[in-house]
C-alpha cells in the first residue's frame, strides 16, 4: 500500500468515526426526556465542534459541488448538496431556537433571553425535520458507511479469527 493510500484510508477512518459519533450524539440529544435538559443542551452545544470538523473534512467535496453546481454535476451529488444545505439550515434553526428556549446553558452563562412560544414550537418542528433529513443523508451515504464498516471493523475482526486458526494449526 502506498503512503498516499494509507493517508486516504486514515482520513476515511477518521471521517467514519466522527460521523458515527455525530450520529450517536444526535440520537441521544434527540431524546431529552431520557437524558434530562442539561445533558441535552450541553451535548448539542458540543456537537457544534464535531459538525465543524465534519464540514472541514468534507470541504473539498463542498467546494467542488458549489463551484460546479449549475454545470456538470451528477444528479446524486446535486441532490446530496441540496439535502446538506437543508440539513445545515435546519441545524441552525434547532440551535437558534434551542438557545432562545434554553433552561440550562444560557442561564448558566448568566444571560437572560426573551421567552417566545414560537421558538419552542419551532425547536420541536425543526428537530423532527432534522430526523427525516438525517435519515435521507444516511441513506444517500449508505454504501460508503457499509464499505467503511467492512474495511475498518468487520475485516480486522475477521482477520483476528483467521490468525487464531492459523496459530492453532501451527501448534497442532
Amino acid at each position: 500500500m502506498t503512503n498516499g493510500q494509507t493517508q486516504s484510508n486514515k482520513q476515511i477512518k477518521n471521517k467514519w468515526i466522527l460521523d458515527l459519533t455525530i450520529f450517536i450524539g444526535f440520537l441521544i440529544a434527540m431524546d431529552p426526556h431520557s437524558t434530562g435538559i442539561a445533558i441535552h443542551e450541553w451535548l448539542t452545544l458540543s456537537a457544534l465542534v464535531t459538525i465543524m470538523i465534519h464540514l472541514l473534512l468534507n470541504w473539498d467535496w463542498i467546494a467542488q459541488v458549489t463551484l460546479r453546481f449549475a454545470g456538470r454535476v451528477s444528479t446524486r451529488s446535486r441532490l446530496n448538496y441540496i439535502l446538506n444545505w437543508l440539513l445545515f439550515i435546519d441545524g441552525i434553526l434547532i440551535m437558534l431556537s434551542g438557545i432562545l428556549i434554553s433552561e440550562s446553558v444560557v442561564p448558566a452563562l448568566g444571560i437572560s433571553l426573551p421567552a417566545g412560544f414560537a421558538w419552542r414550537r419551532l425547536h420541536d418542528m425543526s428537530a423532527n425535520i432534522a430526523l427525516l433529513l438525517l435519515g435521507l443523508h444516511t441513506a444517500l451515504h449508505w454504501d460508503w458507511i457499509v464499505n467503511a464498516f467492512k474495511t475498518f471493523i468487520a475485516q480486522p475482526i475477521g482477520r483476528l479469527f483467521v490468525k487464531r486458526d492459523e496459530r492453532k494449526d501451527v501448534t497442532a
Partner: protein, 112 residues
Amino acid sequence: MKTLGRILIILAVTALVTGALYLIVNAGGTGTASDFTQRGEQFASSSDFEAGARPEFEGGGREPRQLGGGWAFGLLKNMGVISLLVAILVLPKGLAKRKRLAAVKVKADDTV
C-alpha cells in the same frame, strides 16, 4: 491558515443564516405569545415568565416525563425512523442492482 479561512467561512455563513432565520421568524410575528393566544392556545400566566420560567405548552413541555416505553424509548423510536428511511431508499436500489446482475449473467450464459 487554510483551515482557519475555512472555519471563518463556515462561521460567516452560519451567522448569515442565523440572522436570516431570526428575522424571518420575528417578521412573521410568531416570535411572541400573542400569535398563539389568538389561536386559542392557553399558556401559564405572564407573571410566571417574569419570574424567569420558560414557556411551556400544556402537558409537560421539556420536563422529563415517563413515556410508555420508559428510558431510551425516544432513542429507539428515532433509530427506527432512520432505519425505515434507509430501508425504503436503499433496499429497492439493492434489489434493482441484483436483478441487473442476474440479467447480465443470463445473457452471458446464453452467449456461451
